[in-house]
């Protein structure tokens, strides 16, 4: 594709000049990041895919308002966090509890189990994983998103605040509340090991 070597900004200008197809290049560049963030926040593949579509739709619609104060990667990152947050917010309570079910096919994608480990260790690992999923589903969408961005994406408090459009102190509090809840749920597991 002829735009592959071009900078984000020249691609953006091309899109705004009427070259709609050039947007595919931006999508190709940022799909991995967007999908990863969406997946970690939503906790499942189908919700993440829904969020990815929404991210690129919104991204295209607001491309004219992008002012280049942050990188395009950060810009897409923020949209991804917001869209994933909305998807989590829309999710029904029964869908949330489904994540933690034993036979959830998506669970196999996010296991921590060591393949070389024995059956007992594997079983324990699965139990821990299931409890973690359940604990995560107990968090509010904002707490969950803030925690994912802090713990899994290594974002600073300021970056989390900017992504969620909240004050830095509110972002810090959201992370703290998430940690508190997770600690309450998960601490017993570690006491027994």
């Amino acid at each position: 594709m002829r735009w592959m070597e071009e900078s984000d900004d020249s691609i953006r200008r091309a899109i705004l000049s009427g070259d709609k197809e050039a947007y595919k290049v931006l999508m190709a560049r940022y799909t991995q990041i967007v999908f990863r963030v969406a997946y970690r926040i939503t906790g499942n593949e189908s919700d993440a895919e829904e969020a990815v579509q929404e991210v690129f739709l919104r991204g295209y619609q607001s491309l004219a308002t992008f002012q280049g104060r942050s990188s395009m990667a950060t810009w897409f990152y923020r949209i991804a966090a917001n869209c994933a947050l909305e998807v989590v917010g829309k999710r029904r309570p029964e869908a949330q509890s489904r994540i933690a079910e034993e036979n959830d096919p998506e669970r196999s994608e996010i296991q921590l189990a060591d393949i070389q480990a024995g059956p007992e260790r594997l079983l324990l690992s699965r139990e821990i994983e299931a409890t973690q999923q359940a604990a995560m589903s107990e968090l509010t969408p904002t707490e969950r998103t803030a925690f994912v961005l802090r713990h899994m994406e290594d974002r600073t408090t300021e970056e989390i605040a900017a992504a969620l459009n909240i004050a830095p102190n509110a972002a810090k509090q959201a992370v703290f509340r998430a940690v508190q809840k997770l600690r309450r749920q998960l601490a017993p597991l570690w006491v027994n090991t």
Binding site: G18, F56, L57, I110
Partner: protein
């Protein structure tokens, strides 16, 4: 010793604490906080960072297929010379508009001024009023003379009533005009005349000698005739002297 709070431990874990060194020292010195921190680390270290499933190679194309149709094509921006000249065009249009408004305003003003000048010129108005007033006073004097000299036999042959009705209408207009001009003498005489004309206009067809005498007496027709004659003489010779005399006697009953 002040123990670290849970929020401080979390901040320390994520290396966002404002005083990392102090926290570190406290954790080394305080076994209770160190135990709590170790527990927190164990829990948070154990929280998995899920690795997203790999995407198919055509995933981007797949997303494009699902959203591409709903994305509008952005309009190509106008060329740079258009962007440069557009403000100038607007400025020129504004200047032209102001110029047209100015010329139109001047013309309209000139037209208005001439018509207004005719309408409000007090001297012209005064001249018209004097002509009308002079004619009205002539006719009123004739009527009063006829009224004063009529007797019971020939009074029915005189057209007093019809003449009084005609004069009544014109007298009202002239009196109102005099009132607007602030000419109190003229207005007072015309008001007197109007009362007489009204009486005459409403009298029965056949006036008797007694009716005439009553009118002459009640309405003081002799005095009224004198006033009318004075006014008439003044109106028919409005020289500078009369004008100044008129100014001097303004407000004084005749």
């Amino acid at each position: 010793m002040k123990h670290l709070e849970e929020a401080e431990l979390v901040e320390h874990y994520y290396e966002e604490s404002a005083n990392m060194g102090e926290c570190e020292r406290h954790l080394k010195a305080c076994p209770m906080c160190a135990r709590q921190y170790a527990e927190l680390c164990r829990v948070l270290d154990g929280v998995a960072k899920p690795t997203p499933p790999a995407r198919r190679e055509d995933y981007v194309e797949q997303v494009w297929q699902s959203i591409g149709a709903s994305l509008p094509v952005y309009e190509k921006p106008k060329s740079s010379w258009m962007r440069f000249y557009r403000p100038l065009g607007w400025a020129a249009a504004c200047v032209l508009l102001v110029a047209v408004a100015f010329v139109a305003g001047r013309r309209w003003e000139r037209k208005q001024t001439s018509s207004v000048a005719v309408a409000v010129d007090p001297q012209a108005r005064q001249r018209v009023l004097i002509v009308v007033l002079g004619d009205h006073l002539d006719r009123s004097e004739q009527l009063l003379v006829q009224l004063n000299h009529a007797n019971g036999n020939d009074v029915s042959a005189l057209p007093l009533r019809s003449e009084a009705r005609e004069l009544l209408a014109s007298n009202r207009l002239v009196r109102q005009s005099a009132m607007q001009d602030g000419d109190l003498n003229v207005e007072a005489s015309l008001d007197h005349l109007e009362r007489l004309l009204m009486e005459l206009a409403n009298e029965p067809d056949k006036l008797t000698e007694a009716d005439l005498n009553r009118l002459r007496h009640e309405m003081n027709t002799d005095g009224l005739l004198f006033d009318i004659r004075v006014l008439r003489s003044w109106v028919h010779s409005p020289g500078p002297e009369q004008q100044s005399a008129r100014q001097a006697t303004k407000g004084v009953p005749i």
